[in-house]
Amino acid sequence: GPKDSAAKDSSDAKPAKGGTLYVLNNQAQEDFDPARLYTSGGGNVPSLVYRTLTTRTRANGAEGSKVAADLATNTGEPSKDATVWTYHLKDGLKYEDGTAITTADIKYGIERSFAAELSGGAPYLRDWLVGGAAYQGPYKDTKGLASVETPDAKTIVFHLNKPEGEFPFLATQTSFAPVPKAKDTGTKYAEHPVSSGPYKVIKNENNGEHLVLERNPNWSEATDDQRKAYPDSIDVQAGLDQAVINQRLSTGSGKDAAAVTTDTNLGPAELAKVTGDKALASRVGTGHFGYTDYIAFNPKVKPFDNPKVRQAIAYAVNRTTVVNAVGGSSLADQATTYLPEQASFGYTPYDPFPAGKTGDPTKAKQVLAEAGYPNGITVSLTHDVTKADEQGPEVATAVQDALKAAGITVKLDGQEHKAFGDKIHNVSAEPGFFLTGWGADWPSGGPFLGPIFDGRQIVKDGYNFNIAQLDDPAVNQEIDEINKLTDLKAAATRWGALDKKIGEQAVTVPLFHPVYKRLFGKDIKNVVISDWTGVLDISQVSVK
């Protein structure tokens, strides 16, 4: 399992209300419209403004990878086969302007996420809701989406076209946030969204580069047991260089003492400095987000159609150099399983091609000979040219170097970031051997294994995520079976078993799971880092 998430407070004092929390970020909050947001669990900053039917549990470690009720009274009431889900709203829910939140607003918010003008959100609703695929959003189709019913202002019912036991996870996404139709300004809504959460937006400059949030007086602690909302205001400054963020946090002078970052890891160069400084080391939060970086194969391309070739590569890979390439053992854990090492995903340890920490070139050579290549092969590895990227040149060259020892000559085929993405997700252009990674939309095996290995999800004329183009009826059926389960614990166990089964086919070679190491300011108290997000939860932080 994952090492303990180091979520210790920097002081023992009790958290208290007041003050301003500063968030120093690299990426601007460009998508701030609830319909366009994709972030898992609603994202760190957005979830301060948008409440959703359910939300993630705000707790340290594994506890934090569970779903909790938010606007709804519980995490959802499924029908027997998990195709109909019903939610009831809590009492006393209000927007920032004091008006009451109704289920009609939630339905409207969901419908908005279908509009072409507001593209960018997750595809699940479209795939799962009855009639979702054809629906064009409320601007074009004012009749609305019939599969979302609001029998009264406090009840909302979802009709799905197949069993989905994990619907409560989906309901954490911001498309489930209420949007009052009268206040909808379409593409401009993000400039001033109507808050249902503990903070309202005072300023949104340069498309999310600078956000200022202030306490929403109409939010009541009584209806929200997840968000703490200690600071009176929150100032999010984005577009900062990662080195700047880390330097400011480590110096921590002035306002920076009350600052955190939600998107910037300590870089390798900075780690070298932090490890030598005790005081600084105590201000580093370590988190695990469910993510796996791996080598992918397209078994339609020679010689990767030969499982032995794929296995030889699995044996040859030196995970130590790979991990070093992304910043060393503090920033990545070596991976042999496809699922991240967290119980919620159904992690089941296995290593079908054991090669130790640094690879086993001898074994690899032998397997390669069995495959019919006693004199080695020359292959081309496609990767992203973006430097310091998990699929970037550093990792690619590490793989290249390790495979050399096994007689596999690797030519590097670097692609621009965008071109790389376009290429590997295009069935007809997909290279045979490339680097990629996957993070689930919520901490469960479903969104981890489904999109990647479900043969029915191979997209021929769009973005395809079933990169291995695996269409194994047994796998497909097992996915369907697990999806029916509403007992998430039981589901997790079966996901783990499925992972092992797929792993033995060597359609991927897992490389590592990234680890988040993030600094926070001196005045930051009540640090909570869940395994869901892997980052410090700013709804829990206090600066007083």
Partner: protein, 329 residues
């Protein structure tokens, strides 16, 4: 003068149009689907179709290009879903990725770039002209040799090396300055200057070398001219000759060149912006090129082209104002 301006305007429009066509063509040829960019990675084919329609990507390139030009000249109305949003006249469309109006991006990024460029120019003029005059004054002496060596070193150093060294020195070793973060002038003028100091210095050190050489060589050239001989023959002191006559002549090309440099600095200081994390046009351009965000790229490059064309004309006008013998044509 009017004729000159008119002609300049026409040729500027031609240049910009050529630029727009070239960029448009280049990026149209580039691999990658804008609709995909807008929709995000996990986008269904049906959704893609809708978005293509919405973005007008189903029209032919020519039609798309025509719409683009129309937007620049007459503005464009966009549907926000609930209503329409007007993008007023120089409308470069909206970002494929974020849906933002490109004009808004430009307006947002311009202050940082302008701060960088203007501040650096002031600094490089002071440093460059000062060094140039000094080395002309001390010609033949060790000071001149030292200064010549320094300026040669300056011209030979890539700006990012100077930048890294400055960061190393001031932020790491001496710790006199914070790692620069851009603070808008309107927020806090003092912080603004303090944070821009290093990027200014980096640009100025590189650019001033050029100016020092230009100042020095045109001063020396002027000093070899006949009219200088006249003033020498009339007992005018060397100091007055250099300060009044040689400097006056040397300033003309310096002024004109700095107008040009200022122009290309508007978006041209890519390396400096990305090294010092100045959120300006250059940085945005690099990011947008990587993402193939065509409207943003075209918008920024056109603005840069515009700046340079204006700078060119300004340089010519300045030149003519400074030197009445030049006829504008």
């Amino acid at each position: 003068m009017i004729r000159f301006l008119l002609r300049r305007t026409v040729s500027a429009v031609v240049v910009l149009l050529v630029l727009a066509v070239v960029l448009y063509a280049v990026f149209y040829l580039a691999p990658g689907d804008p609709a995909q960019l807008s929709c995000g990675p996990k986008c269904s084919p049906a959704q893609l179709v809708q978005i293509r329609e919405q973005m007008g990507l189903n029209d032919s390139v020519y039609v798309q290009f025509w719409h683009f030009l129309q937007g620049i000249v007459a503005g464009h109305d966009y549907s926000t879903g609930t209503g329409t949003e007007h993008c007023s006249a120089p409308c470069f469309g909206r970002s494929y990725r974020t849906g933002e109006l490109v004009s808004d991006i430009l307006v947002a990024k311009l202050p940082a770039t302008a701060s960088l460029a203007l501040g650096a120019m002031v600094l490089w003029l002071i440093l460059g002209v000062g060094t140039g005059v000094l080395s002309a004054l001390r010609r033949g002496r060790p000071t001149e040799r030292l200064l010549t060596g320094l300026t040669l070193t300056g011209t030979a150093t890539p700006v990012f090396i100077i930048g890294i060294l400055l960061l190393m020195l001031f932020c790491s070793v001496l710790q006199w300055l914070p790692y620069p973060t851009y603070v808008p002038f309107t927020d806090d003028p003092q912080e603004w200057a303090w944070n821009l100091l290093l990027p200014w210095l980096a640009l100025a050190l590189v650019e001033s070398a050029k100016y020092a050489r230009l100042t020095r060589s045109s001063m020396l050239e002027t000093l070899a001219e006949d009219h200088i001989r006249t003033f020498r023959a009339y007992g005018v002191s060397e100091r007055a000759i250099i300060g009044r006559h040689a400097l006056r002549a040397a300033l003309t090309p310096v002024i004109a060149l700095s107008a040009l440099d200022l122009g290309s600095m508007f978006g041209g200081a890519l390396l400096t912006e990305s090294l010092f994390n100045v959120p300006g046009l250059g940085q945005k351009l690099v990011q947008s090129v990587e993402l193939k965000d065509l409207p943003v790229v075209v918008g920024i490059v056109l603005v840069m082209g515009f700046a340079v064309v204006i700078a060119n004309a300004a340089a010519d006008v300045l030149y003519a104002l400074a030197d009445r013998r030049v006829v504008l044509a």
